[in-house]
Symmetry: C2
């Protein structure tokens, strides 16, 4: 059940894909140095491989426990979370004014990647708090920031995101939670929220819920939504923890995976006395929510990478140790480790290639977040375009790689004690939450493709073309992607959406393939560890020669109009 942080790979990407070294010395990142960055990778790697990984199976088998008094985690979680807080891991990219180190988001992403690989369900608490911090930092009043940010930044208090209600899932605008302004400027919150990740637990001293609700007479739909800070404990006059607020977890879900993460039904204002603080303006909730959401979408894409890395490591270790059958065509009839059999190797190299490609895509996008913070022109627009790709492609390959991981184990993969099955179960939530991958595809063709009149997309394609020379399949896919995009620009909403998912995959693969060519070029000229570089080159070649062509096979589906879908009435699907 061990996890080995892929530090060489992480450093390689930080250097050749993110070019983190460019940030060092920039005004915003004065503290950044190669030494600091290396120390962070080593330090968080040790925490992940140690405390977090050792609780992975315990979290899965024991899970979180609900009682009317609250939710508790198994022994060991509190100490591990304290190690995270005391190590200052939450503070890396936090705002300097409130105790943060103001380091690049990319480094915070590597921290989450490692913790996610080690223990996906546990790491969600560390993923959600930064979303709350971002929302407060960008939209909260100075008063709110001063009161709540410092302990969110350290992680002494954790954050949550409360959107979903039973009738309002993907359709956020349908939510009904109410917020009524009081004479003192606070709001009384009332309503139920579901699927609230780490909505209640015993690891942090306080929990800061960011809750979407409607004020009376607000317009219907998303335009009438406001965002509120609703703490588990109110603060006293000194800013310390005071009275219990009128919010509670009424139950937790029984889920397929990520059992360490309590998924809560939260009830606000059962006693009519739930205090909330408005963040930003009334009816300005969606904008603030998207601040949290976009951050979270990149991080969920990264979760796909995390689980893929862990599943790959486990499968490789098993395939190296498991002796079974002689190799076909070999002179010796002695049985060999199954990694020597061609189809097992094909699965393993596919797992490596998909994981590396999705990691490169994610790091690249998060790197653009940092560039945007430095004021680099076009960086924010590129993140906006890439966010649905990172979220959907990262999580799709997470599920695929975890499934291959089970397959490599054969019958052992189906036995829970082996652990491969846990990754398969854990991974399956990631294409669903933070906006289903179908929502990501709709976002891509509905909004992102046309950003700035389509020039954001065109600039990405131009960058890909510049590096793709000599790569036949990648060039062919680039042409196909551009052709489909042109087709989409003139298609009806139905036709665009009908082809949106295959198109999203095509664009993800061409972008990831581009980053693989860049890694290939970097590896050719590098004098690092020859074993690492050989694997890097093999994975990149496999991706470009075998996975890129698969995406070409999606072109007919991406171009297919919606008529076939609507040629039959909805009832016919039950025929």
């Amino acid at each position: 059940m061990t996890y080995t942080p892929p530090i060489q790979e992480q450093k390689f990407l930080l250097r050749h894909i993110v070019a983190l070294q460019d940030f060092a010395g920039a005004e915003d990142f004065t503290e950044l140095s190669a030494e600091l960055s290396d120390a962070i990778l080593d330090g968080v790697g040790a925490l992940a491989a140690g405390e977090f990984a050792s609780l992975d199976r315990i979290g899965d088998t024991l899970g979180a426990t609900w009682s009317p008094e609250g939710v508790t985690l198994p022994d060991g979680f509190k100490a591990a979370y304290r190690a995270y807080v005391e190590g200052g891991w939450g503070t890396l990219a936090g705002p300097v004014d409130h105790g943060g180190q103001g380091l690049p988001q990319t480094l915070a992403a590597v921290v989450l990647e490692d913790l996610g690989s080690a223990n996906l369900g546990f790491s969600l608490i560390n993923m959600l708090t930064p979303g709350a911090i971002e929302a407060l930092k960008h939209h909260g009043s100075k008063e709110l920031q001063d009161a709540w940010l410092p302990k969110l930044v350290t992680g002494e208090w954790s954050g949550t995101m409360n959107l979903t209600e039973p009738q309002a899932g993907s359709d956020v605008g349908a939510l009904r939670a109410k917020a009524v302004r009081q004479p003192d400027g606070t709001y009384r919150i009332e309503g139920q929220k579901i699927y609230i990740t780490w909505g209640e637990h015993d690891l942090a001293d306080n929990i800061v819920h960011l809750v979407l609700a409607r004020t009376p007479d607000a317009p219907v739909g998303t335009k009438g939504i406001s965002l509120f800070l609703v703490p588990k404990f109110l603060l006293d006059a000194n800013g310390d923890i005071g009275a219990r607020n009128d919010v509670r977890c009424v139950s937790i879900e029984h889920k397929l995976g990520i059992h360490a993460s309590p998924t809560c039904v939260m009830s606000y204002g059962d006693e009519g006395n739930c205090v909330g603080y408005l963040i930003g303006a009334e009816c300005g909730g969606m904008r603030a929510m998207f601040t949290m959401m976009n951050n979270a979408r990149l991080n969920v894409g990264l979760q796909g990478v995390s689980v893929a890395e862990r599943a790959t490591q486990k499968a490789v270790a098993y395939a190296q140790a498991r002796i079974q059958s002689a190799r076909a065509g070999a002179a010796s009839r002695d049985p060999v480790a199954i990694i020597e059999h061609p189809d097992v190797r094909r699965m393993l190299i596919r797992m490596k290639a998909l994981t590396q490609a999705a990691r490169a895509l994610t790091y690249y996008a998060v790197g653009q977040v940092d560039r945007a913070a430095l004021g680099v022109e076009g960086a924010q627009a590129r993140v906006d375009l890439l966010t649905p790709l990172v979220k959907a492609y990262g999580t799709d390959i997470g599920v695929e790689v975890a499934s291959l991981g089970v397959q490599v184990h054969g019958g052992m993969g189906y036995i829970e004690e082996t652990g491969a099955a846990q990754h398969y179960r854990d991974a399956r939530i990631t294409p669903i939450y933070e906006g289903t991958n179908g929502i990501q595809a709709a976002d891509l063709v509905g909004r992102k493709l046309g950003l700035e009149g389509g020039t954001v997309f065109a600039r990405l394609i131009a960058d890909i073309r510049a590096d793709a020379t000599g790569e036949g399949a990648l060039m062919a896919l680039t042409d196909a992607v551009e052709g489909v995009a042109t087709h989409m620009a003139n298609a009806s909403a139905d036709d665009r959406l009908a082809g949106s998912y295959p198109f999203l995959t095509m664009l993800s693969v061409v972008t990831a393939g581009w980053l693989m060519t860049r890694q290939l070029a970097a590896a050719e000229g590098s004098d690092g560890d020859p074993v690492f570089l050989a694997m890097k080159k093999a994975a990149a070649r496999f991706y470009l020669d075998q996975i890129v062509p698969e995406a070409l096979g999606l072109e007919p589906a991406a171009r297919a109009p919606a008529d076939i879908l609507y040629s039959i009435p909805a009832e016919a699907f039950a025929a």
Copy 2:
């Protein structure tokens, strides 16, 4: 949690793909008539939708329970199994001389399909017994047949298949269980077997284990393996149940899914007194085992179809009922059922198309088993060629469709109570057992492609070409498949195996696509239920226009030589 047997679909395939009507009146199938076949579909459909489906979630949540006295199933299983026995469902294709009805295997397959859709784990007991019957029928002495077949045929006694040992999984030849001949002609059996499905339970009065073991001085590897019948209870002089044999279940596995099916570790001869009866000749075990195995491989492919059908039904019902968001581009801003949203419809039609295609492939192959029994030339060879496709493609789409089923449910799909997650867990064993799908791919390129000098494959391709006229993508895929096959014929073992899995998928899709064109033609000229026929045509068109091209994208991988896999040492995979 309900299940509706897809009777219209089953009848359509029996008529247009199997042409079951051709068998009626054939000497071997004197009892067969359209009325009988319809009555079977209706009757087993009711059993599946009733007793079996109602125990699906109970089986998943409570599972089988082990104690030193044996394994017990939750309340209700015994009665449901008795209903299966008393309904005579096990006897359909059983040998007439021993109480069977001698009906086509195709009808027995439909029975298993329905029971598998209703309760995959439970249905395994009904799937394994026929394998034991086939092995006895073809390889057992008259004495053994008379003693054991009648109650296996009714299902009063159940059968198992004992191959795997800890060191002998895919490499059956590595097994070590021992069998020593006694003066009375019986054998003393000794050894441990793992992963024995329904190896011990309380539903049937006796359990007949078919066990692979080695006699002393037998050659190493598969050539030295013999097959033995080892009952849980010996028979007394009257052929009734007598003394307990020295065989026991020492534990059951804790698995990802199919919890209703006890997966047993079986221990033979702990007290040195385990009686076994030789089936066939000493060292002739592999041949007898393949009789069981080939039957089982087709049935496991069918399990993929079963779970896909169930997952699709559940997703369709959810998508019809769940109201969320207005339809993009529609005039009305009222929220609609999510089945109205293009990407949800795309997922659902994909689920329908994959399920129908794999079902057609499976029915077609099982229909060839019946034709072979009738002496139709080339039928057995075609089954031999298609068996790895049915097993691997059926189970691959089972996993894909079950995963799409979770996705259609959104967050609800991740909650165990919804049931979508169970199908995702249950489905995942099917690409593993009865020979992993990688083993199927190796069988295809190593043995099946070259059957009768490649003419078996060539005849299949010729049949496909004859019907594919006018279908551009299918023709292109046929060309590609033929090109890869030619390439494979001249490739090294490593190169063949490196491309075997993508090639298997290509050949599966082109064959299933061919059967979809035949269904399309049949639907055009049919005057059946217009809603059913409209869905059939839409699913077939979707398959031909959108799924067939995806398989074209696999050609480079199918042709890729093994060098890239071996360009790096095994250790580099951990880098």
